[in-house]
């Protein structure tokens, strides 16, 4: 294939883990972790805060159109997640959940928008940070409510388990509630965004390569390759739409599950 594919694109083909490499902003001057993805993460914070600031400016009792949109989004978290799952004590966790949802969603939208075309959450470092925060919050909530040992018992021993099964249930519940939860939380978010971006890269880069093919490849004529490239690029728009949806859903799921974990941690003993 060496002669078919121009050298620049050949460097990126086939897409893989290297498609997610960060580019240092000023290599050699600043450390490598000051890169384009760190920059877009910082930018997302500015966007999130600006958006909410704009939405809370000049709020009135009878909402205008802008405020109605802001309230709809806010209520999605406030009523749809926090109040539904946490009940009357939702107010204490509301800012956390709003922050979680907006931060993740905006960073997921970066996969389809702005200059970046790259979902920040497909860099797993950011995801682990959020998973750790979620883990700290729900365990912290449980410990504050039940005390350290009280919470351990609450989290690892469901009510009504007969004594002779404790040796089995307690380690299982500990594993599931304390160890696995943050891992699945993080992996779910990361893997969805990682895979989605990979698929987009395949269709867009692959489509571009096919479209710009200048000589037959593996027995396929140039017009056929060009046609396949057009189809592939068109199809990438459908994938973009799907990724848009997945980005929103994953942000929502992360928030819902975190709220759910908090709710189960602070639930009354049965």
């Amino acid at each position: 294939m060496g002669g078919v594919i121009p050298p620049l694109e050949a460097e990126f083909w086939p897409p893989g883990e290297h498609s997610f490499d960060s580019r240092p902003l000023l290599p050699g001057v600043l450390p490598d972790w000051v890169n384009n993805h760190a920059f877009q993460a910082v930018f997302s914070v500015v966007l999130v805060i600006l958006f909410w600031w704009w939405m809370t400016r000049r709020q009135t009792i009878v909402p205008g159109r802008k405020q109605a949109v802001g309230e709809m989004l806010y209520d999605l978290i406030r009523n749809g997640i926090a109040r539904d799952i946490l009940g009357p004590q939702f107010r204490a966790y509301l800012p956390f959940l709003v922050a979680l949802f907006s931060f993740i969603w905006v960073n997921n939208l970066f996969g389809q928008f702005f200059l970046f075309m790259f979902p920040t959450m497909s860099k797993i470092g950011y995801v682990w940070a959020l998973a750790l925060i979620a883990w700290l919050v729900y365990n912290g909530a449980g410990i504050r409510k039940h005390g350290f040992f009280g919470y351990l018992k609450h989290a690892t021993l469901p009510a009504g388990v007969p004594k002779f099964l404790w040796w089995l249930i307690i380690p299982l519940e500990f594993l599931s509630n304390i160890i696995v939860r943050p891992l699945t939380l993080g992996l779910r978010l990361f893997a969805n965004l990682f895979a989605g971006h990979l698929v987009i890269v395949v269709f867009v880069v692959g489509g571009t390569l096919l479209l710009t093919a200048t000589e037959p490849l593996a027995g396929f004529s140039v017009p056929l390759l060009t046609t396949a490239g057009v189809v592939s690029l068109l199809f990438s728009f459908a994938i973009f739409a799907l990724e848009l949806l997945i980005g929103a859903i994953q942000a929502y799921i992360f928030t819902v599950l975190t709220a759910q974990y908090v709710a189960s941690a602070i639930a009354e003993d049965h």
Partner: protein
């Protein structure tokens, strides 16, 4: 030192730079702080004001409704009073009318009776006068006539008067219609 992506079999499950992790923590902290400090309180304040406004509105509406129904009750009572009064007045008028009619009728009857009585008295008086006049005149005429027929003087007053009286008494005993025959 923590392992990095590409240095371990976990591949992309480990970060390219661990600084991503710390940046993520710090950025989330900033977002959380801003939202907890400014955004959520602002929304909640607006919601609280809205709830208060709606509750105030409901209370106001309830008060207005109570006032309206009180006014309605009052109007109903007034209407009933007016109706009673009207029927009472009608009844009174009816009674009064009847009394007036009876009164008038009585007055008319009295008047006619009085007129009848007057007329009768007048007639009686005139008749009595006529009778007296006739009696005198007829007595004289009769006496003269009789004297001429009989040829004797009836100057003897005593006798003449007795005769005339007898004659008139006879006349009076005859029925009225025959009187002029």
């Amino acid at each position: 030192m923590l392992p990095l992506a590409g240095e371990s079999p976990l591949g992309p499950l480990l970060p390219e730079h661990w600084e991503e992790f710390w940046i993520g923590l710090a950025l989330f902290a900033i977002v959380y702080f801003a939202i907890a400090k400014f955004i959520v309180p602002k929304f909640e304040q607006t919601y609280a004001e809205r709830t208060a406004a709606i509750q105030g509105g409901i209370e106001k509406a309830e008060a207005a409704q109570a006032e309206a129904s009180a006014a309605l009750e009052e109007y109903r009572a007034q209407l009933a009073t007016a109706r009673d009064e009207a029927s009472r007045i009608r009844e009174e008028a009816k009674t009064q009318g009847a009394a007036i009619i009876a009164d008038m009728r009585q007055q008319a009857a009295d008047e006619s009776n009085r007129m009848l009585a007057n007329a009768k008295a007048q007639i009686d008086a005139e008749r009595a006068a006529a009778v007296n006049a006739l009696r005198t005149e007829v007595g004289g005429l009769a006496t003269t006539l009789a004297g001429r027929i009989v040829g004797e003087s009836l100057d003897d007053d005593e006798r003449a008067r007795r005769t005339v009286d007898r004659f008139i008494a006879d006349l009076e005993q005859q029925p009225a219609g025959v009187e002029h025959a």
